[in-house]
């Protein structure tokens, strides 16, 4: 175990600038909030630009398969910017979860199309599934796949569903076209509508078997957990930066509210937490990229960063006073993402329990 590079390279910063600019232009907060409308805003054009034109969908895919062949450190930077903008793009569900699951199962054709942004996919598991959780899989009969999976992220945005299937010799991975007969995707009302969830039902659906799924799903979920820490970091940074600048503008009792020690000390603590979350998230991304200490790093980063994002978002609402409670001000978008991210890919409790096993401190 070595503690690698916890900073950002110039290339990573350049990637960040590009993604940040795209979100600033195409999905500012007043657009993002429309994800909550009865007819939600369609952000697929933003995703197409990001995935296909900017090549971001292929960051985790080797060059030989049409990807960028860079790795988790760069994907983590994209996740930070997605968090910072609460952008509604299926990067985690398609470019991370589905892509890694297929890659590790040895699939190449769909992976190439995903890397090029021609197709979008999702891994059909509940978003709350933690790395190492048992995944049941839908059943496979003579007429194809049958069963349902609840709370799947990015299903309505996907062309391809990557489905864990209970096979005779254990869990298998299949691919299914979302447009296939017998596939029913029912969008859910979610706490965080910027990461759309849906229930997926299969009623005798034709599928293509990819291969055994046990290891590849676990690896996809672990990579997802490692990178989700960077999204949480991005959420926390926006909340901190925004709250700090508000504390420097808003006056009460004839003074800036940021001059009161009660607020200064809270902001000082939050500043440290965001810095520490940066170290944890960078370490998780770097460890994932190097394949060294990756499981411990991912669980540690999730256990830490998920709580920091929620804390930052809650402080953001509180220190903005009444404005923080309004629909018009974007703080609520971050609170909803942060709280939902706390459950995504396993709660901090779950990650601490897993960590205990990894470092030989449990189970009790």
């Amino acid at each position: 175990m070595t503690t690698g590079d916890l900073l950002y390279s110039d290339t990573e910063e350049a990637l960040r600038d590009g993604v940040r600019q795209l979100f600033a232009d195409r999905c500012p907060p007043e657009q993002v909030v429309r994800a909550y409308d009865p007819e939600p805003q369609d952000f697929s054009a933003v995703w197409r630009t990001l995935a296909a034109e900017m090549g971001v969908a292929g960051l985790l895919v080797p060059e030989a398969l049409g990807g960028a062949g860079v790795g988790a450190r760069e994907a983590a930077v994209v996740m930070e910017e997605i968090g910072r903008a609460v952008a509604s793009v299926p990067f985690l569900s398609s470019a991370v979860l589905a892509t890694v699951a297929l890659l590790r199962s040895g699939e190449t054709e769909t992976v190439s199309a995903l890397a090029g942004g021609e197709l979008t996919a999702t891994l059909v598991v509940p978003l709350s599934t933690a790395p190492g959780d048992r995944v049941a899989g839908v059943s496979h009969g003579a007429d194809g796949l049958s069963g349902s999976v609840t709370s799947v992220a990015g299903a309505a945005q996907a062309d391809v569903l990557v489905v864990p299937v209970a096979g005779a010799d254990g869990l298998e991975l299949h691919t299914v076209s979302r447009a296939a007969d017998g596939v029913e995707v029912s969008p859910l009302r979610a706490l965080d509508m910027t990461r759309p969830l849906a229930n997926v039902r299969f009623s005798g659906v034709a599928s293509a078997r990819v291969g055994p799924a046990e290891g590849s799903i676990a690896e996809a979920l672990e990579t997802g957990a490692a990178l989700l820490a960077s999204e949480q970091l991005g959420v926390a940074r926006w909340c901190f930066d925004t709250t700090l600048s508000y504390a420097k503008q808003r006056k009460q009792f004839g003074r800036l509210i940021g001059s009161y020690q009660a607020l200064k000390h809270r902001l000082a603590d939050l500043w440290f937490e965001v810095g520490a979350a940066t170290a944890a998230a960078r370490y998780a991304a770097d460890a994932c990229a190097r394949g060294d200490d990756a499981s411990v790093a991912a669980a540690t980063a999730q256990a830490y960063c998920s709580g920091i994002a929620v804390h930052a978002a809650e402080e953001c609402v509180q220190l903005h006073g009444g404005i923080g409670m309004t629909w018009e001000y974007p703080a609520h978008l971050y609170l909803k993402r942060a709280k939902s991210d706390q459950l995504a890919l396993g709660t901090a409790y779950r990650h601490r329990a897993r960590l205990a096993e990894l470092v030989e401190l449990g189970p009790i």
């Binding site: 175990m1 503690t3 590079d5 916890l6 900073l7 700090l244 504390a247 420097k248 003074r255 800036l256 940021g258 001059s259 020690q261 200064k264 000390h265 902001l267 000082a268 603590d269 500043w271 440290f272 810095g275 520490a276 979350a277 940066t278 170290a279 944890a280 960078r282 370490y283 540690t300 256990a303 830490y304 409790y349 601490r352 329990a353 960590l355 205990a356 470092v359 030989e360 401190l361 449990g362 189970p363 009790i364």
Partner: protein
């Protein structure tokens, strides 16, 4: 210079100075003179102007050869605070005179900053230094001085001009602790022992040649010392995972199954995660500041370290159940080194209370962070433009 070149240089030095056959001090002095003491220091002062990140390479090579160390744990203030302050503000003559015996450990340093009436508000300090020819005459009382009873020299901040506002009228010296008029008395702490002291200064004569920085410029010099202090306290380079006091708790959890209980398991892992993330945050800070001087950022590490040490040591006592009621030793001793790991949970718990007080209270450091890093408005200061002698002290 590459790590390989440096390794080669150390090997050549070791070939010429067999650690087993050399006198300990002679060996350390020769290592200093060869520029292998602290490689990022300038040539002639124990270093050769290399990157700070190369130091562990040299240290590892010496350790592998079984070479004697300069026992850095005995001279934390000297190495962590005095040396960078001397390097930044000392004259060439002063650097040449002080840095070598400091590094070899021949001269332990302590820090005469706080006073009974000047704690968090250090700049209000009252110890007077009055010029007398080529010397200064110092009178006053300092307190909370760790290692004063073993120190040969001290970093001393004094009031030299009472007629200007407090930050402007201070002057910084290096004090010879053996000078007539220096009296050191132990202060017994809540742990039973006496790490620190009160120091009475009565007509102590300090040569002007021992002044650091300009007359009236003491506050700036003191700030350099304090920034280094927070880095020294808040993070130890290269601490391994489960290093520090979290390692005592995990060791107990693994080795004493009868102590385990389900309700404490999640709390243990919370502390484990906080300790690991603090380790990574310290590592990241070092990567950012690989070459630069420590700034106020170290204050964040120090606040977090204190909070965590207190949480872990409190948990440690509870974890030990019945034996948590015991205490290993109440004997009054004047200690030179704080031994957190070698002592019992009760000692660690009590000693950790000091972590959020020593070297700047966590409350003051949160002000430092919010004002100097975040740019928030300063605290209301009624004394800023008032001459020191007119302050309501």
């Amino acid at each position: 210079m590459s790590a390989g070149d440096l390794r080669e240089q150390v090997r050549e030095f070791l070939a010429a100075h067999d650690p087993a056959a050399s006198d300990r001090l002679e060996f350390l002095r020769a290592r200093f003179d060869a520029g292998l003491a602290w490689v990022h220091y300038p040539a002639g002062l124990g270093g050769q102007g290399l990157s700070r990140s190369l130091q562990p390479v040299a240290d590892a090579e010496f350790a592998a050869a079984g070479a004697p160390t300069n026992r850095p744990e005995r001279n934390g203030i000297g190495l962590g605070m005095a040396a960078p302050t001397i390097l930044a503000y000392g004259s060439e003559e002063q650097k040449g005179r002080w840095l070598r015996p400091l590094w070899t450990g021949e001269e332990i340093w302590c820090q005469l900053f706080s006073e009974p009436g000047a704690g968090s508000d250090l700049a209000s300090l009252a110890t007077r230094a009055v010029p007398d020819g080529a010397e200064w005459v110092v009178n006053g009382q300092k307190v909370w001085t760790s290692s004063a009873h073993v120190a040969r020299r001290a970093l001393l901040v004094t009031r030299t001009d009472p007629d200007v506002p407090k930050h402007q009228g201070m002057t910084y010296f290096a004090l010879d602790m053996t000078a007539p008029g220096v009296e050191v008395r132990p202060l017994r702490q809540i742990t039973g022992e006496a790490e620190f002291n009160e120091v009475f200064l009565t007509d102590v004569r300090v040569p002007d040649a021992n002044r650091l920085g300009p007359e009236g410029g003491g506050w700036r010099v003191a700030t350099t010392t304090l920034n280094n202090e927070r880095v020294a306290i808040g993070s130890q380079a290269g601490t391994p995972r489960e290093g520090g006091i979290i390692g005592k708790v995990t060791e107990a959890w693994r080795n004493e199954p009868e102590l385990r209980n389900p309700a404490m398991h999640d709390e243990l892992m919370r502390l484990w995660v906080d300790a690991e993330v603090l380790r990574l945050a310290g590592e990241r800070l070092r990567q950012q500041a690989a070459s630069g001087q420590p700034g106020p950022e170290g204050a964040g590490m120090k606040v977090a370290f204190a909070h965590l040490a207190q949480a872990i040591s409190g948990f440690d006592i509870e974890l030990h159940a019945e034996s948590g009621l015991h205490y290993d030793d109440w004997t009054m001793r004047r200690t030179e080194v704080v031994d957190l790991i070698g002592r019992g949970p009760g000692y660690r718990y009590l000693r950790a209370r000091g972590n959020s007080i020593e070297g700047g209270t966590s409350e003051i450091l949160r002000n430092t962070i919010s004002e100097r890093i975040l740019g928030l408005p300063g605290e209301h200061r009624v004394d800023k433009d008032v001459a020191w002698k007119d302050l309501n002290r």
